[in-house]
């Protein structure tokens, strides 16, 4: 019950303990070279079916932590458990959505969306069917034959999302997925993500530097502080899912939470 201890360290509202952890981060530290401490003694559990945001100023190691969970980086010490089993590499139960989309420019939308399945050895007709389904799911129906350079930034990220969804992983790891798209697209995207959460029974780990975005989309927000990267606070926004997206942005609870996080983060920003 490491988490509940950390949780009460934050001021005010107590945080519910994690009942069904799907990802556990145990005492993870990451050093670059021998001097730069990117992460120090991170101990976290992520609730199954929830969307948890990792939020913090640049240099707090949030992307590093996400990549360690993804198995793309090795921790210097500590371990990652997924569904109770220690892992030290990428696995089929996790899929990653990249900040810069990471699409193959030589491949069509369909081929890009089917790439994960291809690597996993799924036969061509089946993987294309599944990819088509998720291309439709992210709202890109009719764009299957287009190439990435023919799409806008927002549409490209939808392809990245479709690719991650197509492999049917339980856990989606998203590294600032909306930071490279414009504000309007971003809002639309966040709303789509919320809708997607209702449809797909998945766990989301979401890295962002936008406080509003984190409060809007998350069940839980893990605040990280920089140099060395540590967990500084854990917040459950507890915003009713009933409110429409437009009302939400004027919701008092929402605004208070944003304010509270900003107060916590302010001291790390020059």
């Amino acid at each position: 019950m490491q988490l509940s201890m950390t949780a009460t360290a934050g001021p005010g509202v107590p945080v519910a303990p994690v009942r069904e952890p799907i990802v556990e981060v145990r005492n993870v530290s990451k050093l670059y070279g021998n001097t730069v401490v990117a992460l120090q003694d991170i101990d976290l559990s992520f609730e199954k079916g929830h969307l948890t945001s990792l939020l913090g100023p640049s240099g707090c190691g949030k992307t590093t932590l996400l990549k360690i969970v993804a198995g793309l980086l090795q921790p210097s010490s500590g371990e990652i458990r997924v569904k109770g089993k220690p892992v030290n590499g990428p696995g089929a139960e996790r899929a990653f959505v990249f900040q810069d989309f990471a699409l193959m420019p030589w491949a069509s939308v369909l081929e890009n969306a089917a790439y994960g399945l291809k690597v996993q050895g799924i036969a061509k007709s089946e993987r294309e069917d599944r990819a088509r389904h998720y291309i439709g799911e992210v709202g890109l129906h009719g764009f299957e034959k287009k190439y990435p350079h023919e799409l806008s930034g927002g549409m490209r990220q939808r392809v990245g999302l479709a690719r991650a969804l197509a492999v049917d992983a339980d856990i989606l790891l998203m590294d600032e997925p909306f930071s490279a798209v414009d504000e309007q697209t971003r809002r639309k995207f966040q709303e789509d993500l919320m809708r997607l959460r209702e449809v797909e029974n998945k766990t989301f780990l979401f890295v962002t530097h936008s406080i509003e975005e984190a409060v809007y989309v998350s069940d839980r927000i893990v605040l990280l502080s920089p140099r060395p990267g540590r967990v500084s606070e854990i917040i459950d926004p507890q915003i009713s899912r009933e409110i429409s997206p437009d009302d939400l942005r004027r919701d008092e609870n929402y605004l208070d939470t944003v304010e509270r996080i900003w107060t916590g983060i302010k001291k790390y920003v020059e």
């Binding site: 793309l72 996790r94 899929a95 990653f96 990471a102 193959m104 030589w106 790439y115 690597v119």
Partner: protein, 250 residues
């Protein structure tokens, strides 16, 4: 290009030079230049001669062999340098040295090593073509977006799958290297044959020069220029077909 408000095609300036050449030839102003019309007439003769067919055959063979060698060794070497820092440190200086060195000076050495024949010409083509292919491949491999590789790895990609990603992502640079290598290779085959001078086009050149058949000599020069230019144009067109994604990788 426009002249006095009229649109003039780019190639039009060539006509001016051709007329000038004709005049110089007609009046015998410079001994080396026969009239252009004579050169054109000789061109027909050169093209239909048996020695020309033989020269072209052997030139094409040595060119293709040298180029194939440059591709087969150059691309893997570029990959190695792009992927391994150690290999890069060991080789980079040498590759750059060979790239800018006057390689023609080495042809006599090849003659001693490989004899006065096709092997020397093949090696010359190889030496002219390979280094730019190595360096461009290296640059391409180095510039593959790290996130693309992470993406592939995140799905559990095997080494061969990763390799495919690197290759396709580096393809625009690799093709640019091949195009430049092909153009340099043409220089290689001509210089090699001229210096060896008993085979291929080089033999023809010495034949025409020794017999003072200047019209034939110039006809051959023009033919070679035309070949080299059309080859470069052909590769440039191929390259354009995949260029759309060269600038798309950030």
């Amino acid at each position: 290009m426009t002249l006095y408000g009229h649109h003039v095609p780019k190639m039009a300036s060539l006509i001016v030079w051709v007329i000038l050449w004709e005049i110089v030839g007609r009046f015998g102003l410079v001994m080396l230049f026969p009239p252009f019309t004579e050169v054109i007439a000789a061109m027909g003769e050169v093209v239909t001669s048996r020695s020309f067919a033989e020269a072209i055959r052997i030139t094409v063979i040595s060119y293709l062999l040298g180029l194939a060698l440059a591709l087969v060794l150059g691309i893997p070497l570029g990959f190695l340098m792009g992927l391994s820092r150690t290999a890069d440190k060991l080789l980079n200086m040498w590759v750059n040295t060979f790239l800018s060195a006057p390689l023609s000076a080495l042809v006599p050495v090849f003659m001693i090593l490989f004899g006065l024949g096709t092997p020397t010409v093949v090696v010359t083509v190889f030496m002219f073509a390979v280094w730019i292919i190595v360096l461009d491949t290296r640059a391409g491999v180095r510039h593959v977006a790290p996130s693309l590789l992470e993406m592939s790895r995140s799905f559990g990609a095997s080494w061969s799958e990763l390799f495919k990603i690197i290759f396709l992502a580096a393809l625009p640079e690799i093709l640019a290297g091949i195009r430049l290598g092909m153009i340099r290779g043409v220089k290689g085959v001509v210089i090699g044959q001229l210096l060896v001078s008993i085979i291929g086009v080089g033999a023809l050149f010495s034949l025409y020069q020794q017999n003072f058949q200047m019209a034939h000599f110039w006809a051959l020069v023009l033919l070679l220029f035309a070949c080299a230019l059309s080859l470069a144009e052909l590769v440039a067109r191929l390259e354009k077909r995949i260029q759309y994604y060269a600038g798309e990788r950030n």
